[in-house]
Amino acid sequence: MNLDHSQITRLFVRAALLISLLVTGQIQAQAKGTSFPLPSALKDPKTWDDADFIAAWQPQKAAAKIAHKTWPEPPLIFGLRPHQISGHFIGEKLESITLLFLDSGTHFGYVPREQAAATKKMNRESFQALHAETSNKVQQGLQQLTGAKGHPTSLGLTPMLRQDVLLFTSGNLTARYYSIPEQLVKVTFYRDANQAQSLWLDPAKATLKRRDRIKQLAENVFTAENGDRRLASIPLFPQGDRAYCGVSALAMSMQYMGLNLDTEDYAAAAGIRYGSTKGSKIKEVYEAAGREANMRLSRSTKFDFRKAQAVLDSGLPIIVWRRWAKERDYVHTTFAARFAQDPNALLPKPDSRDRATWPDKKAFSHASVITGYNAKRGEIIFTESWGEEARNRRMRFEEMEGTVYYTFYPKL
C-alpha cells in the first residue's frame, strides 16, 4: 500500500485523536452508555443510580423537574425490541423505567380520519395476533425474570382509567405489567412498591388536604423580569408521529399535578386505535383523569384571558383544543426563534389582515397546554407536545380566544 504525505498526516491525526479520546474516557463512556444493562436494570435499583447509566438517557438535561427521558437504542428484552424505553426522572433521580412493547399509535403512526376505517379493516386481525403474541412473550419473560406468575390487582377509581395489572417483584424493584387488547402492552419498573400500586407519582400526594395541594401548586408560579407569569416544571411528553396531541397534553398537565399516567395510558383508555382518533372518547378521558386526581376539569367552549390568568396564578395549567394550520403555526415557530434572540420582539398585531390568517373551522384540531401569560404584552404562553423546542411558545390572547373551541380549566 502506497501512502502519500497528506494521507500519512491524516492517519496520524486520526490516531492521535483516538488515543486522546481513549485517555479522556469519552469513548468508554459512550460505549457504556449504548448498552442497556440487563438484567441488572430490571432488578437492581443500584444500577439506576450509576452515573454512566443516568448519563445515557436522552435528553441529558431536562427543562422541567419531571422528565421522561428515552434510552437511545432499545435492546431485545424478553425476545422483543420495545418501541421505547423511557425513564421517569424527578430531578436527577430515576424513579421508574417503562418498557413500551406495543402501542397502537406508535405501530400505525398518524392515520387521517378518512382512512381510519380502511386501516382498521386491513390490519385488525394481524394487529390482534401481534398483541396476543407480544403480551404472551412479555408475561413469560416477566415470569422467568422474577420466578413468579404475578399478582393481579386493580388500580384507579374511574371505570375509564381503571387498570387491571399484574405486579411482579423483580429483585429489589416492583414491575407493573399492563395490557389492553388492540392497544397496548407495557411494563413499568418502580423503585418503590407503593408507587407501583398507585396511579399517583407520589402516593402521599393523594392524601394531601385540599388547602395543602393548592399551596403546593401555587408555589410553582414565578414571575420573570419581562412580566411573564409562568408555571415551572410542566413535563414534556412528545406525541411523536401519533394522533396523540390531546392525550399528550393531558398527560403533561396531569403528571404535573401528580397523576402518574402516561400518554399511552390515556390513548388506550380513550380508544385511539389504528392511528386515528375517530370514534375515540378523549373528552370522557379528560373528565375521568380529573376525578382520579380529585379535581374537576371544567370544559368551556370559549377561552377567557382573564379567567385563564386567575387559573394560572393558582399554579394550574390549562389545556386548549384549538383550530390549527401549519401556515399559521409558522408565525409562532418563527416568533419563538426571534424572541429567544430579541426579548423586545412583538407578535403581529391582531388587525384585520392578521385575523384573516387565523385557522378557521375547516382547519385541523390540535391540543396545547397553556403554561403562562404576559398581561403587559397581551400574550399567552403555551407548550406543544412536540419536543423541548416547542416549549413556552407565544400567541396573542386575541388569537387564542379566536381559535379555541374547548378550554379545560382545572379546579381543585
Binding site: 401549519k326 408565525v331 389582515r353
Partner: protein, 173 residues
C-alpha cells in the same frame, strides 16, 4: 310529528357539535427541499453565499423554459421537489441564473383546497413574521439581510413571491 322534530333537533345538535381533538403529525416543513438543503427554503434564499458566483442549488432542479424570458443569458431552473416557503406549500419554485450567479427566485403559491382565508394575507403575514417587520400591515416589499422579497397577486388567485439581492431589485417581472 313530535318525535320527528326531536330527532331532527338531535341530529342538528350532533352535526354542529365540535368534533373531538384530531391531532396532527409533527413533521411540519420537514419534507422535500429541507432534506438536501438542511434548512427551509427561505433561510437558504437569504444566505449571502446563495447569491455568489458558482453557488450550488441544493436539491433536485431541472432546466426550465419560460416564454416570458427574453434574455438569452438567463438560464432557468425549476425545483423538482416539494417545498414549503414561509410555511406555505409552494406550487412552483424557479431560479434564474445569469453569469453563473443566481439572480432571482420566483415562488408561486396556488390556492389549496384546505385554505379558506386570503392567500395573499397569509403570505404577507408569514413574510412579516420571518423578517420581523410587522410594522406595516399592507406592505408588499420587504428588505431583509440585503435581500428583497416582493409579493404580487396574480389574476388567477395565485400569489407570486420574488426573492433577489437588494441591489438588483428594480422591478419585478
Amino acid at each position: 310529528m313530535k318525535n320527528n322534530v326531536t330527532s331532527l333537533f338531535i341530529a342538528l345538535a350532533l352535526a354542529l357539535w365540535p368534533k373531538p381533538a384530531q391531532a396532527i403529525p409533527n413533521q411540519i416543513g420537514g419534507v422535500g427541499f429541507v432534506n438536501p438543503a438542511g434548512m427551509r427554503f427561505e433561510n437558504f434564499a437569504v444566505l449571502s453565499n446563495t447569491w455568489k458566483a458558482n453557488a450550488k442549488l441544493p436539491g433536485d432542479w431541472q432546466d426550465w423554459q419560460d416564454p416570458l424570458n427574453k434574455d438569452n443569458h438567463v438560464i432557468l431552473y425549476r425545483l423538482n421537489m416539494s417545498a414549503e416557503v414561509f410555511g406555505i406549500s409552494a406550487s412552483q419554485i424557479t431560479a434564474q441564473v445569469k453569469d453563473d450567479k443566481i439572480s432571482l427566485f420566483k415562488i408561486i403559491f396556488g390556492k389549496s383546497t384546505k385554505q379558506t382565508h386570503n392567500l395573499v394575507d397569509q403570505v404577507i403575514t408569514n413574510i412579516q413574521s420571518f423578517t420581523g417587520n410587522t410594522s406595516e400591515s399592507d406592505q408588499e416589499s420587504f428588505n431583509f439581510k440585503k435581500i428583497n422579497i416582493r409579493v404580487q397577486k396574480s389574476a388567477n388567485g395565485a400569489v407570486i413571491v420574488t426573492i433577489r439581492p437588494q441591489t438588483t431589485a428594480v422591478t419585478s417581472r
